[in-house]
Symmetry: C2
Subunit: 418 residues, 2 copies
Amino acid sequence: MNKVYTAEILGVGTELLLGNIVNTDARDISVMLSELGINVYWHSVVGDNPERLTESVEIAKKRADIIITTGGLGPTCDDLTKVVLARAFGLGLEFNEEAAERMRQHFAVLNKPMTENNLQQAYLPEGCTVFQNLWGTAPGCAFRAEGCIVLMLPGPPRECNAMFRHCAMPYLRSLSDETIVSHNIRIFGMGESSVEFKLRDMMNEMSNPTLAPYAKEGECMLRVTAKAHNEAEAERMMEPVIEKVRGVLGSVIYGIDSESLEETVFGLMRDRGVTLAVAESCTGGFMAKRITDMAGASKVFLGGATVYSDASKASLLGIDRALIAEKGAVSEEVAREMATKVREKLGADIGIGITGVAGPDTDGRHEVGEVYIALADKDGVYCRLFTLGKTRERVRLAAANNAFDLIRRRLTGLPMDN
Amino acid sequence: MNKVYTAEILGVGTELLLGNIVNTDARDISVMLSELGINVYWHSVVGDNPERLTESVEIAKKRADIIITTGGLGPTCDDLTKVVLARAFGLGLEFNEEAAERMRQHFAVLNKPMTENNLQQAYLPEGCTVFQNLWGTAPGCAFRAEGCIVLMLPGPPRECNAMFRHCAMPYLRSLSDETIVSHNIRIFGMGESSVEFKLRDMMNEMSNPTLAPYAKEGECMLRVTAKAHNEAEAERMMEPVIEKVRGVLGSVIYGIDSESLEETVFGLMRDRGVTLAVAESCTGGFMAKRITDMAGASKVFLGGATVYSDASKASLLGIDRALIAEKGAVSEEVAREMATKVREKLGADIGIGITGVAGPDTDGRHEVGEVYIALADKDGVYCRLFTLGKTRERVRLAAANNAFDLIRRRLTGLPMDN
């Protein structure tokens, strides 16, 4: 793959056009194609209609080197992607016995009868490379015809995503004698424009590896991508780049290829055998929810108190009501007490306290977005006032993010003041 | 609008093609267009590239009656949607003083200087209807040319969504001497296929109003849509349909036009002056998080305990450790105690206790997906064992949903066993 290919992702499904679901397949495949260095120039969506699907394929054939379809591979009469695509490229369909056998086994394991229409899914364009579906029933496939590379994947996001990564990416890589490898440098506490400003000269000078910034919700990310003859060579090429970025950005980098800030923090705590308890006011359980989204959370997370009222701060955590009356529920003193008491109550190594104004109403003393976050551990209590934005959603997200980041800083010996 | 129009939604932005963001604008607009009875036949996305955008507009002109663009209306040189669209339809751009003045005021309120490039946003296609942006800076617009109706909206989802609802929908309605009004019947506790089965004959017989089912995450929805000469007439036509659906489906309908189950429950509690406290184990704060997502949550939600460990069940809520040892943390007895104790501790009218196995690991006694949910109030404690699915994400979502639904049933005097 020494030429730079252009790709179109063509979603097939009336449910997308009705707005029943959002097209996450196009997003996920775009991210994976960018890892391969393939340019995505078009996303398109059509319904389960053979004429309009045929027209869309004709348009895609003219403008893209690679056409990737998602959806319409299932067993019902609405599922017409394979039929239409095969016809558009003058190919017949042939029965794939392995795919059929996998379907029979799939239903046997579920102990459900398989209706005959399921076998429709085993008919695939003649001569294609079959992508067996280990995550569902409908197989995908790839073929080359009329100067195009065509890939078809099932629509359900979990199947589409897994099959693209495990089947389509190796297929696309095999078309090339070069390997493309990339790493994601995850950053919290510095905006995209600052990251770009600090690294602009470096980015502009580079061609292989490349370095590109991506905005993420409440944080940002840099992707390093290298092309080489093999993976080891690509890794060797990226190593000095990652080191240089670390040198420039320092402690705002929370992980390389980490899924999220909470995943990094969870890993740090698990590896060090550190336990956590959280007392949340304005975040209202959001931090606890994010930790417990992860399988195995109970290894580090002991529990939390969502103390949304003054009374609950007293009754659940034993915070002095007089202190709350004197200093206010949103105050450094109360944040410190929340972190200290929840740590003591649950016998955790680290206690977090979060109290602030998520809005739209204020407490009359603070602006919307002012949030105190405290971290208590065996050495004492750290607390800081953050100013985090103007909308409820944004304030709650940023407050939880900053609390996770404080834990990361404490556990890795970084300065607490970013 | 007596003919049925077809629409194409054209997203403009390289960030969509890179997979940095998912195209929620197309989803949101599709939902709103279906409320208007307009058929969406195509979604497409192109990057910030004038040639490819021009080509996409030419394709859309040929096949759609209505073209709706999202994105590319901002102040930077990447923002070229207006220039390209105006050129494609042979129109010039003209300066809109009201839009410029609104921008100046927007920056004045923020107390930030306005750079000159912002005024670019005030140039709009000649003769267009301007959609002033009350949610950001870039105005949108609509015009008719060459047999097409063209609408342009800004890309940020909050702005796009609000402007479509408040500016574009009235514009599209004004093209017609008919009014289309719809209501969403929200359903929890009955799957889409059962709903469809029970209502199939009724749905097939109807043409105006229409009744259509939509799958939602963990629940389902029916939309009733009527076309009439005015809104009052449309409402009169829908009334007997909604009544009939109520008669067939009964208590699984939790709201008409409610945003979510938690919104319905929050409204019921607020109106009745009822307060809530929650004790969560496997949902890990997810229920608390969903209530506190809503502004004004503190009127009903006093707080919660996320008791993820046995020790925290004892230390935060005072549950007898011997009971946990004897019955197991996942048991009816512990769920009942959680609901009772959290209600007492926080002085709430209703206490909820949730304990179960979200997976992937089990406690050795229960399958993944088995969850006990208890509701305590002045009359005693109700508790039931639910079986909720196989994946962690699904189990946690369904557990929180069912807990909200139990509160709804209790407050409205419905049977607790669905």
